[in-house]
C-alpha cells in the first residue's frame, strides 16, 4: 500500500518537474527578452540604453546559462519567491497576485462542483432508475445536448436571454463575493462543465448496483425504496464518481478561463488570459505551475482515496 502510494507520488512529481521544465524552456526560448519586455512602452523601446539592459540582466541572473536559470527558478519557487510581474502589474510579486486571484476562482469552482455533484448525481440516479424509459432518454440526451455547447457560447447567450430579453438581472460585473447575485450566473455556467461526466458515471454505476443481491435482500426485508437508494446504492455509486475528480478539475479550469473573461471576474482564469495576452512570463510560469499542481494533487488524491473507498483495489 505505502509503496504503491510512493510510486504514484514519484510518478506525479517527475511529471510535475517535466512540465515545469518544458514550460520554462518554452518561456526561455519563446517569450522574448524579459528585460526588453519591461521597457516596451509604445514604440520607443529601442532608445533604452543597451548597457542598462545588460546590467539589469546581470542583476536578475538572466545572463546565466539556461539550466542554471532553471535551477535558480526552481530553488526560488520552493522558497516562495515566484518572481515579479513584468508587465501586468509591474514589480508586484507574482505570489501575491496569485494569492489574491486564486481564492476567487476556487470559491467559484467549489460552488460549481457542489451544484454539479448534487444535480449530476440526482440526474444519474433518476436516469438509472428509469433505465431505457423516456425519462432516462430525456436526461441523457438533454445533458449531452447542453454540455456539448461550449461555455463561451452558453455564457454570452444566457446574458442575452436573462439581461436583454427576460430582464431578470443586471449585467453581472466583477467580483462581489460568492453570495452576491452577480456570482449566480458564473457559478451556474461553470457547473455545466463537469456535469456530463458525473451523470454518466452515476448512471452506469447505479445500473450495475441495481441488480445486486443485497439490494434485492433489502427490498425483500421491506426497507423503503428511498432508503435503499440512499443507504445501499449511493455509496458504491460514489466511488467511480469521485475517481473523475481529475476530469472535474480540468473542466473547472477550462470553465473559469472563459467565465471569468465573459463576466469580468478577476480570478485565476482571467489572470491566465491577461498574463498570456501581455506575455508576462513570470505570471505565465506561475499559472502553469499552479494549474499543473491542481491537476496533479487531485489525481494523487484520487489514487489515495480510491483504495479506501473500494477495498478490492487494496489487494493489488
Amino acid at each position: 500500500m505505502a509503496s504503491f502510494l510512493l510510486i504514484r507520488l514519484l510518478r506525479w512529481s517527475a511529471g510535475l518537474l517535466l512540465i515545469l521544465f518544458v514550460t520554462y524552456a518554452m518561456m526561455y526560448y519563446g517569450a522574448g527578452d524579459p528585460i526588453r519586455m519591461m521597457f516596451i512602452q509604445g514604440e520607443d523601446f529601442d532608445s533604452t540604453d543597451e548597457a542598462v539592459m545588460r546590467a539589469l540582466r546581470a542583476k536578475y541572473g538572466l545572463d546565466e546559462p539556461f539550466l542554471v536559470q532553471f535551477g535558480n527558478y526552481l530553488n526560488k519557487l520552493f522558497q516562495g519567491d515566484w518572481g515579479r510581474s513584468i508587465r501586468l502589474q509591474v514589480d508586484r510579486p507574482v505570489l501575491e497576485i496569485v494569492k489574491f486571484r486564486l481564492p476567487i476562482s476556487m470559491q467559484l469552482g467549489f460552488a460549481a462542483t457542489a451544484i454539479a455533484a448534487v444535480v449530476g448525481v440526482a440526474l444519474g440516479v433518476f436516469a438509472a432508475l428509469y433505465h431505457n424509459r423516456w425519462l432516462d432518454r430525456l436526461i441523457v440526451s438533454t445533458v449531452l445536448f447542453v454540455t456539448s455547447i461550449p461555455i463561451f457560447v452558453i455564457g454570452p447567450m444566457l446574458l442575452l436571454l436573462l439581461v436583454l430579453i427576460l430582464k431578470w438581472i443586471d449585467v453581472p460585473y466583477g467580483w462581489n463575493g460568492l453570495f452576491h447575485i452577480d456570482a449566480a450566473l458564473p457559478v451556474a455556467v461553470i457547473s455545466i462543465g463537469p456535469l456530463p461526466g458525473i451523470v454518466r458515471q452515476t448512471r452506469s454505476a447505479m445500473l450495475e448496483v441495481k441488480g445486486q443481491q443485497y439490494v434485492t435482500t433489502a427490498r425483500a426485508k421491506g426497507v423503503p425504496e428511498a432508503q435503499i437508494i440512499t443507504r445501499h446504492m449511493l455509496r458504491p455509486v460514489m466511488t467511480p464518481v469521485i475517481t473523475t475528480l481529475g476530469l472535474i478539475m480540468i473542466a473547472l479550469i477550462n470553465g473559469s478561463l472563459f467565465v471569468e473573461l465573459i463576466y469580468n471576474i478577476p480570478g485565476f482564469g482571467l489572470l491566465t488570459i491577461e498574463g498570456i495576452r501581455k506575455v508576462d512570463y513570470p505570471i505565465i510560469m506561475a499559472v502553469a505551475v499552479v494549474g499543473t499542481l491542481i491537476i496533479f494533487i487531485s489525481n494523487f488524491l484520487v489514487d489515495m482515496i480510491y483504495p479506501i473507498l473500494d477495498p478490492r483495489v487494496r489487494v493489488q
Binding site: 510518478r11 445536448f145 454570452p156 436583454l164 491566465t272 505565465i284
Partner: protein, 327 residues
C-alpha cells in the same frame, strides 16, 4: 516478393474464416442500419456534412469578399443585400461566416490527420514492442491527457509564435526568398501543431489497446506462425479491427479541434485577424452585444450547432459501431 504474396493469400483465408458468422449482412451494413434508426445522429451527420460542404465551396458562393470593409454600412441588420447584416467595419457577416467555416474545417482536418498519424505510429509501436519505450510513451501521453488541454494549447501557441516568426525573419534576411515573408499561414500551422500535440495521446492509447487485445487472438497467432510480418498483421488484422473505435475517436477529435480552434480565437490567441474565425467573430460581437446582439448571436449559434452536431454524430457512431451495446 513471392513470399509476401503467399502470406497475403493465406491470411485472406484466415480473414474469411473469422468473418464467417452465419449472417447475411456484414458488420458495416449492420452498423449503418443501427445508425439510421438514431435520428439525432442522422441530423448531426447532416449538419456536419453541410458544414464541411460550406467550408469547401463557401468562399466561392460568398456574396462579398470577407475582408471588404465599408464603414458607411457598419452595423446593419439582415437585408436582401447583406444576408446576415454587417459588422463593426461594415464587412458582410455571411461572407465572414463562410470563411470562418473554412478556417474551422481546415483546422479540424489537418489536426486530425496529424494526430492520427502520430497516434497510430506511437500506439502500434508501444503495443508491439512494449518494454521501457512503451512505458515512457504512455507516461508522456498520460501527462498530456491529465493536463487541461486548453491551457497546454495556449502555452504552446503563445510561446512558439515569436521564435518561429523571428526564425523566418532571419531566414528571409539571409535568403531573400519571399516564401519566408508571408507569415499569414503561420497561425494555422501553430494551431494545427498545438492541437495535434494534445490530440494524439487518446488515439495512441486506443490503438495500443487494440494491438494488445488483438495480438492475443488465435488468428493472429496463426498468421504469425505462417510467417506473416508485423506490418502485415498490423494492416490486415489490427487496423481493420480497430477501425470502428478509431472512427468514433476521429469524429470526436474533429469536433474537439473545431471547438479548440474557436476557443483559442475567442481568447484572441488562435487565428489572427484579418483571417476570419467563428471564435474571433464571437469575441468581436461580444463588444456590442447590448446594442447589436446579432453580431454575437450568429457565430454563437453556429458554433453551438456544429458542436452539438459533432457530439450527437459521435454518440450515434459509437452506438452503431459497438454491437455489444445493442445486445
Amino acid at each position: 516478393m513471392s513470399r509476401a504474396a503467399g502470406s497475403t493469400k493465406i491470411s485472406r483465408v484466415v480473414d474469411d474464416g473469422s468473418v464467417f458468422d452465419g449472417g447475411q449482412r456484414n458488420l458495416w451494413q449492420d452498423a449503418a442500419r443501427r445508425f439510421r434508426k438514431n435520428w439525432l445522429a442522422v441530423a448531426g451527420l447532416a449538419v456536419v456534412v453541410l458544414f464541411l460542404l460550406l467550408a469547401l465551396i463557401g468562399p466561392h458562393i460568398a456574396p462579398y469578399d470577407f475582408l471588404e470593409q465599408n464603414i458607411m454600412k457598419a452595423f446593419q441588420g439582415a437585408s436582401a443585400e447583406h444576408f446576415l447584416g454587417t459588422d463593426d467595419l461594415g464587412r458582410d457577416v455571411f461572407s465572414r461566416m463562410l470563411h470562418g467555416a473554412r478556417t474551422a474545417a481546415l483546422v479540424a482536418f489537418f489536426t486530425t490527420i496529424i494526430s492520427l498519424i502520430i497516434g497510430v505510429l506511437v500506439g502500434t509501436w508501444s503495443g508491439i514492442h512494449g518494454g521501457r519505450t512503451d512505458q515512457f510513451l504512455m507516461w508522456i501521453s498520460d501527462l498530456i491527457q491529465a493536463m487541461p488541454g486548453l491551457l497546454l494549447v495556449i502555452l504552446i501557441n503563445t510561446t512558439l509564435r515569436r521564435p518561429i516568426v523571428n526564425w523566418f525573419d532571419s531566414l528571409y534576411e539571409q535568403t531573400k526568398n519571399p516564401f519566408y515573408l508571408n507569415t499569414l499561414w503561420l497561425d494555422y500551422v501553430l494551431v494545427f501543431s498545438a492541437l495535434a500535440l494534445i490530440g494524439w495521446p487518446g488515439l495512441a492509447r486506443l490503438v495500443r489497446g487494440q494491438v494488445l487485445s488483438i495480438n492475443e487472438e488465435d488468428y493472429v497467432l496463426a498468421a504469425r506462425a505462417l510467417g506473416a510480418s508485423e506490418a502485415h498483421i498490423m494492416l490486415r488484422h489490427v487496423i481493420p479491427n480497430a477501425l470502428g473505435p478509431l472512427i468514433v475517436a476521429v469524429t470526436a477529435g474533429m469536433g474537439g479541434a473545431v471547438l479548440l480552434e474557436a476557443s483559442l480565437s475567442f481568447l484572441g490567441i488562435g487565428i489572427q485577424p484579418p483571417n476570419a474565425s467563428w471564435g474571433s467573430m464571437l469575441e468581436e460581437g461580444r463588444r456590442y452585444w447590448q446594442i447589436f446582439p446579432h453580431l454575437m448571436l450568429i457565430p454563437a449559434v453556429t458554433i453551438g450547432l456544429v458542436q452539438v452536431a459533432f457530439v450527437f454524430l459521435g454518440d450515434g457512431l459509437n452506438d452503431a459501431l459497438d454491437p455489444r451495446r445493442n445486445s
